[in-house]
Amino acid sequence: MANVSMTNNLPMETESILRFPTFSLAGQAGTSFKPEHLAAISAVSGPQGFFEVHAENYMGAGGPPHRALERVRRDHPISLHGVCMSLGGPQPLDKDHLKRFKTLVDHYEPALVSEHLAWSTHVDTYLNDLLPLPYTATTLAHVCDHVDQMQNAIGRPILLENPSTYVLFAESSMSETDFIREISRRTGCGLLLDINNVFVSATNHGFSALEYLRDFPLSGVGEIHLAGHAEQEDDEGELLLIDSHDGPVADAVWQLYEIVVARCGPIPTLIEWDSKIPDWPVLRAEALAAQAILDRHASDRETFHALG
């Protein structure tokens, strides 16, 4: 009796599963998606790499943002990049935010999902910045719990991004690379290696970016970020780099990128550009410069791991 009535609703299910095509972004370079570029992107025939969006911008109930993202998603793989889950904070994650994130993942079926090793909410105040944390056994346990919780909520592994920082914590007892390696080992998460962040932090804290990359668990990297930075001065008048995402990728960052790609193979790479946004051809040209490097190393696959 039950068998007869159960088959009636199946077509609805099938429809929702097949809503967007599946695209691979293996070996591809992509760009941040900015709605002001939609017309220019649509005017070019053929795919334009992959696009990454800040998840929170698409957490409204409906309206134009969803029309724009659906349009992009029809023809391209997307990467869903969370900026305010506050994984690095001591307090429990926001359950409503986890639910919203899962809804987005279910709807848009992104090729990649990522979040930051940082925090942005304290008690009930949202501070709208990626804030740093000390690296200790206690904070490690919190971050691992949070990564587990997020991965369970959305039903798939995330990529965790290394931060750019301006201060250090006297109480830190682990290096950033050891901290990140341990999170990845305990939670099974992949990593998003932001090479501009490595360069910014290395400059700001006086360590070698190359040594950092040598210590970094590169085999877990499923995506690379490249971006521009700005220059300021610290308290002693020395150079302090700001992770501003407002210009082209610096030459030194391109060089580090080439070293990483030569070692790891063609890992999907994103050009982030979030303010003073240029016309689409300028942004696309940065992605094509990354694509040229990826293509040069397309056959270097000995340590390349396809995550997810």
């Binding site: 929170e56 911008n57 957490m59 409204g60 109930a61 409906g62 309206g63 134009p64 943002p65 969803h66 029309r67 305010c84 506050s86 904070g89 001591p90 307090q91 926001d94 935010h97 925090w119 942005s120 909410t121 304290h122 009930d124 105040t125 949202y126 501070l127 709208n128 910045d129 804030l131 740093p132 944390l133 000390p134 200790t136 056994a137 206690t138 904070t139 919190h142 301006y166 201060v167 250090l168 914590f169 006297a170 109480e171 007892s173 700001n204 804290h205 006086g206 360590f207 300021q232 001065e233 610290d234 308290d235 002693e236 302090l240 700001i242």
Partner: protein, 276 residues
């Protein structure tokens, strides 16, 4: 085993976030003791990068939500006003498009905005504009849906609002001032009179309409779930010359409602408009 109350506090207690965030929205506070530069270098300027990011990005968020208010006040006035508000009422949600709900009331209290008593209503329209922009998608009521109802049942009809629909009543010409300042077109003198506005989203375009007299009373009744007859009475009470057919045409053109529900003595029908 020592009891819990004599255990020393761990230096890496989970309160780093409390100490770090305490000074973020307080401009004169020193950088927290727990942060440093490399090799023990001072970190005031370094910490200020975070302080600056927080304040400037939240002011920018308000500026993008309230562009007409900013155009009216000028950028410097706006930034100063927004900075006070950001420090007094930082966001409580990570969704920045939800921010600024308390900003209109803050403008009402803001000392330097007292000679612009209409400014907060312009802000209320802009806040409603963004709500309409992000509101859930839903079909819009088609004119045929109303025409299909027998005349004797019309008075009992109720309307389901479109999720984007908002109503603003101002004691000032806030709708005209909003429309004049939302873009970069010319501004001119505005006749001082009360205005009522209807904010809706037509397909993907948010629109703000200036309602005729009685329109807000009529639509307000419908939005709160009252039947058409009660809404007409409210409209006529507000304005004896209330133009019902004009208003119905306007609200359908504005996509203010999604569905109607007609009660007849034999059955209840829901007229879903998408396939009407």
């Amino acid at each position: 085993m020592p009891s819990a109350d004599i255990l020393p506090m761990r230096r890496s207690a989970p309160d780093f976030a409390g100490q770090f965030s305490a000074a973020l929205l307080t401009p004169d506070a020193p950088a927290p003791d727990l942060v440093t530069g490399p090799r023990g270098k001072r970190a005031e300027k370094r910490y200020n990068v975070y302080r600056n990011n927080v304040t400037v990005s939240l002011i920018a968020a308000l500026s993008s939500i309230f562009p007409a208010v900013e155009r009216i006040t000028g950028a410097d006035f706006f930034r100063a006003m927004a900075r006070f508000h950001v420090r007094e009422t930082p966001p409580s949600s990570p969704l920045l498009f939800e921010y600024g709900r308390d900003f209109p009331d803050f403008i009402d209290r803001y000392e330097y905005a007292q000679d612009m008593p209409w400014l907060s209503d312009v802000a209320r329209i802009e806040r409603a504009w963004l709500d309409a922009y992000h509101a859930a998608d839903a079909p819009a009521l088609k004119p045929e849906a109303l025409a299909a109802i027998p005349p004797e049942d019309l008075g009992a009809v109720t309307f389901q609002p479109h999720p984007s629909t908002r109503l603003i009543a101002s004691a000032y010409p806030a709708v005209t001032i909003f429309a004049m300042n939302r873009g970069d077109g010319p501004v001119g003198r505005v006749e001082n009179r009360p205005e009522e506005g209807l904010i809706t989203r037509i397909d993907d375009e948010v629109t703000v309409r200036h309602l005729p007299p009685g329109g807000a009373a009529f639509l307000g009744a419908l939005l709160s779930g009252e039947c058409l007859a009660a809404a007409v009475a409210a409209g006529l009470e507000a304005e004896p010359a209330f133009d019902l057919s004009g208003m119905i045409g306007e609200m359908i053109a504005a996509h203010a409602f999604s569905t109607i529900r007609a009660f007849s003595h034999v059955e209840m029908e829901i007229f879903n408009v998408e396939h009407a």
